[in-house]
């Protein structure tokens, strides 16, 4: 035995004596792959051995928002808890994002701050009620799906066979099986998993010492990635369960970028969030923010997947609050806005269930709609191929200077006067439909018409978003070139944020257009408002194509005016929808009202 785990030592790391660090190939560590472009680049859990080895309490993390010292460290320490404590401290030292933001009606956490507050508090409650170690409480909670009531009902009352065997085995694990510690074993022998002769094994307390370290690590990691948190020794029917502290020991000298304990806790946290109605995590890719809803009147539906290309605009929550409509659009810790109710991005002016229908339809029909070429089209006059690289849909051909509309390819000039031609899908065309085939063809045509617009604006948002992201830089450059102050260019930031948000509203309005009954009284008014709104957006978007810095300052009043106009039109459109739906001036056809879709089956395994 070359290395041993030492309880009395400050360090949670193996005493490394003469060991060369052994290798752990971590190339399949896809979990901390590419960061989302929206991420604030939190250093999530780069556990630094240096700071971890220091057991003295570090000053609590400080940040712009509330910092937390939530995990009580004053309990009598048992060896396993001791490690967890240090784990937390280690992470507090390195992770400055252990904060949450208090909004009215909800809280936004980082995933780690969620773990150290909500999750650990739940574990601590069970720990003190049952007077059991932290790791035991954790496994119990995992087993009972974080349902404290059913856990407490079952812990002493061992009537249900399935639960009884688990609980008894767990108790066994924390008594006799727990006495020995996992340690490194140098011994050349046959590994029962990879079937090779290996030189490094772990001494497991259950005496199943024929799994080489790499195999054991891969085994555990696979389980965790598979969201299986109750991990037995690989030997068949062996009762030994790996604890959080074991994971720490097993992976100590691995080269994994993210400590496996943190991955384990993060995965557990996500499963907790999925089980609890008042929590949800941000659907933005790789965001990992958690929202706790404090308003009891809101519920949400975890069964809905987020729209694959959902772009959650990272815009000030201030601007969102101006939209006075009853969608629970919450802002996550990393400033993504999403609907707590359905976990889609903000989808004003569509009600949740319409948005849900649309997203599912888009998924189903994605192949049919794929032929729509989204990034290049031909100039309707000279047939030059034109690639779009800004968000604006008012195009000017670089060859013949023909001005046209990217969406309908009609001349731009007509968009000013007979404005709603571009948005409008001509239902009259489908009146002549005779047989079912015709109707379905017409329906497809109608869908593609609106989907095309939906998608075009989604792409425009992405491009506008690039402008938004480089805005600070742009303003700095402008300051240098013009000698004006930063404040003088503040209007640009407001404008681009309003533009992106408005485009998102416009985008979703096409989803609404698809489902609304064209015959309803308010439909024409709705379409007219949509068109005026669209034109206001394209006018504002056009201004962002100005690159000449003197021009930008000169056009400042245009920026401000157009931005205000966009805001006004957006407000108006949402009002029209709200009022229309209330008074039945707008209505949906062929849609069964909100339904609790319970079609998602969950895997059940036998005991």
């Amino acid at each position: 035995m070359a290395a041993s785990y030492n309880d009395d030592d400050d360090s949670i790391y193996l005493q490394e004596s003469d060991e060369e660090p052994f290798e752990y190939d971590d190339d399949d560590d896809d979990d901390d792959a590419g960061e989302s472009e929206f991420l604030r680049h939190d250093s999530v859990g780069d556990c630094d051995p240096g700071s971890a080895a220091n057991p003295t309490p570090s000053p609590a993390a400080t940040g712009p928002s509330k910092s937390l010292s939530a995990y009580p460290a004053n309990n009598p320490i048992d060896p396993i808890d001791f490690q967890v404590d240090i784990l937390i401290k280690a992470n507090q030292d390195t992770d400055s994002s252990l904060n949450y933001i208090d909004h009215t009606g909800y809280k936004s956490f980082t995933l780690n701050s969620f773990i150290y507050t909500v999750l650990f508090n739940a574990i601590d409650d069970i720990k003190s009620i049952l007077n059991i170690p932290f790791n035991q409480a954790l496994l119990l909670l995992v087993y009972f799906n974080w349902n404290t009531d059913s856990l407490l009902d079952n812990y002493y009352n061992l009537d249900i066979i399935k639960n009884r065997s688990f609980i008894l085995n767990l108790r066994l694990n924390f008594t006799s099986l727990h006495n020995n510690k996992i340690s490194l074993l140098k011994d050349s022998k046959f590994c029962s998993i990879c079937c090779n002769y290996q030189s490094k094994f772990y001494f497991l307390p259950c005496n199943h010492n024929y799994f080489c370290i790499n195999c054991l690590r891969k085994y555990i990691k696979n389980k965790i990635l598979d969201n299986l948190f109750i991990i037995n020794c690989p030997e068949l029917n062996c009762p030994y369960l790996f604890k959080l502290s074991d994971l720490n020991n097993l992976f100590l000298i691995s080269k994994a970028k993210k400590p496996i304990t943190l991955l384990y806790l993060q995965k557990i946290a996500k499963s907790y969030i999925q089980l609890k109605k008042d929590y949800s995590y941000c659907p933005a890719p790789d965001c990992n923010s958690v929202i706790q809803n404090i308003n009891p009147n809101l519920t949400h539906d975890h069964s809905l997947f987020s729209f694959s290309s959902a772009l959650l605009s990272s815009i000030d929550s201030k601007t969102i609050q101006n939209l006075n409509i009853d969608l629970p659009i919450f802002t996550c810790y990393n400033n993504h806005n999403y609907c707590f109710n359905c976990r889609l991005e903000s989808h004003f002016p569509c009600p949740c269930y319409i948005s849900k229908l649309w997203v599912n339809k888009c998924k189903d029909d994605s192949e049919t709609a794929n032929w729509i070429n989204v990034n290049t089209k031909e100039c309707p006059k000279c047939i030059s191929s034109i690639e779009k690289n800004g968000g604006c849909n008012h195009m000017t051909c670089y060859k013949c200077f023909h001005q046209f509309c990217w969406i309908c390819l009609g001349p731009w000039a007509s968009h000013g006067s007979s404005y709603y031609q571009c948005n409008r899908y001509n239902e009259d065309d489908s009146k002549g439909a005779r047989d079912k085939k015709e109707i379905s063809k017409k329906l497809l045509k109608k869908y593609i018409h609106f989907f095309d617009r939906f998608q075009t604006h989604e792409i425009s948002i992405k491009q506008d978003f690039k402008i938004f992201k480089t805005m600070e830089k742009t303003i700095n450059n402008l300051q240098i070139k013009t000698g004006n102050s930063y404040i003088d260019f503040d209007f640009l930031k407001d404008s681009i944020q309003i533009l992106i948000q408005a485009r998102n509203v416009l985008k979703w309005s096409y989803c609404l257009s698809y489902y609304l009954t064209p015959e309803s009284n308010g439909f024409l008014i709705y379409e007219q408002n949509q068109s005026v709104f669209m034109n206001s957006i394209e006018d504002l978007s056009k201004l962002f194509e100005i690159k000449e810095y003197k021009q930008i300052l000169k056009r400042k009043s245009n920026f401000i005016e157009n931005t205000r106009f966009v805001s006004d039109r957006q407000k108006k459109l949402i009002e029209v929808v709200q009022d229309g739906l209330k008074t039945n001036f707008l209505s949906f056809k062929d849609i069964n009202t909100p339904s609790g879709d319970s079609s998602n089956t969950k895997t059940k395994t036998k005991a």
């Binding site: 029962s192 998993i193 990879c194 195999c215 891969k218 085994y219 696979n222 299986l228 690989p234 030997e235 068949l236 089956t601 969950k602 895997t603 059940k604 395994t605 036998k606």
Partner: protein
């Protein structure tokens, strides 16, 4: 595969297709019956998919192809019911081609 000592399967030879993924042995191999006949069993669908816990959640890397095949063989040998799973027709019409993508409710194991 042949099954001895069970009149249900006495004269038949069954073929298993075993796909081994790059994560083997940490993840189970993809196993299904191919070619006709597909043995009739309350845990075997008519498309050859097998509902057996060790091919899914109960897999351990300590298992190997041989022990897995023995498990399937003994599952057949001990069967007394000449029937398909109760949800056979609905499962087969919607089943993914990789049985591991199906969400099995592991049927009662007492059979």
């Amino acid at each position: 595969m042949k099954v001895a000592n069970n009149p249900l399967y006495s004269n038949e030879v069954y073929t298993l297709r075993i796909d081994i993924t790059s994560d083997y042995p940490f993840l189970p191999p993809i196993v299904r019956f191919v070619d006709l006949p597909i043995p009739v069993h309350p845990h075997i669908y008519s498309n050859g998919h097998i509902c057996l816990d060790i091919l899914g959640s109960a897999w351990s890397p300590i298992h190997n192809i041989h022990s897995m095949a023995v498990s399937i063989q003994s599952m057949l040998a001990s069967n007394t019911r000449n029937e398909r799973p109760p949800d056979n027709s609905s499962y087969v019409s919607h089943a993914p081609s990789n049985p591991q993508h199906a969400l099995f409710y592991y049927h009662d194991d007492t059979i």
